[in-house]
Point group: D2
Chain length 102, copies 4
């Protein structure tokens, strides 16, 4: 965890879209709870699988939104500063993208 960068009040790339992100995450949480209920109620596999795929794609969209905000704020600011700060932020972003793609 990045100690220096976290904690209340610190603004990040996603600060502008915080409410939208929280809403999407509550919806995704509800989707996962709904899948739990489908399994309890012995719903047909393919119908459960369709919901799991939908929840996975919803989380993917959250990830892409976070990445977009991070690039256009945190990475852009660091790149404007240049030097090792910029190089570290870019390396970090690339590794996050690789984790997401794989």
């Amino acid at each position: 965890m990045h100690e220096a960068d976290q904690g209340h009040g610190h603004t990040h790339g996603y600060s502008e879209h915080k409410e939208e992100l929280l809403k999407r995450l509550r919806r995704a949480e509800g989707q996962v709870r709904g899948i739990h209920r489908m399994i309890e109620e012995d719903v047909y596999c393919i119908d459960v699988l369709t919901q799991v795929t939908a929840a996975t794609k919803a989380l993917e969209r959250v990830a892409l939104g976070l990445l977009d905000d991070h690039l256009s704020h945190c990475v852009a600011e660091a790149a404007a500063e240049g030097g090792e700060v910029s190089a570290e932020k870019l390396r970090e972003a690339s590794q996050a993208i690789a984790r997401l793609v794989r």
Copy 2:
């Protein structure tokens, strides 16, 4: 939704792994709730993104487990029966796999 195939007491491919699936889904639900909290607490984007990617991969593993059970039970039984029942089950499985991959 497949009316004939759902509802309490009906066993599906995943019935054998029901408790394990429910446990994984509760964990995934907790992960999503945790991400919600990280956003509320303005945690650094990359740390949030790492958790979203982890939750996405956890749901992918649930999907692959469901698919594995579905193939080795529902699809295998239908294929043993042959005819249109088998063809429909196989078509359905292929479409579910395509949705998961894309």
Copy 3:
């Protein structure tokens, strides 16, 4: 490699779509060669990346087509036979799907 199952004349799930598959693979091969040329000619990164993504998706479609054919022929036939032959074919298909998804 599955010695018993390969070699000329043996029909597989994809035999019906062999020409279509060969055409898609030639096209994918041409796409990769085109990307090679773009790099040689110092074309802009994003335009190259767009073509690499397109070639990746083209290969994904080939994989899904192969899987669909394999399920509806090889797996269906094995499942009709039942026993260990069926179990092995289903295990194999599930592992192939997992490799594709991850």
Copy 4:
């Protein structure tokens, strides 16, 4: 296609890794040609599918390498310049990442 940015002699993010990229692309092209031959020789579906998945992952690695280079050169330079040039480069990178992930 980005007219202004392409054409011989122009250096891009990947220029430093050009030979490595060209080598990987030749290898990927060879993999696709090999898959074509497997289909012609009626090789078993799962063995063909394993090679298609491998070629897909190889192209994914090429894409991630291109993206990494693009971020740390083209995007970093544009961000240092700031303004609309930077905003456009970041938007473009985000859209390329989204295409790759989906």
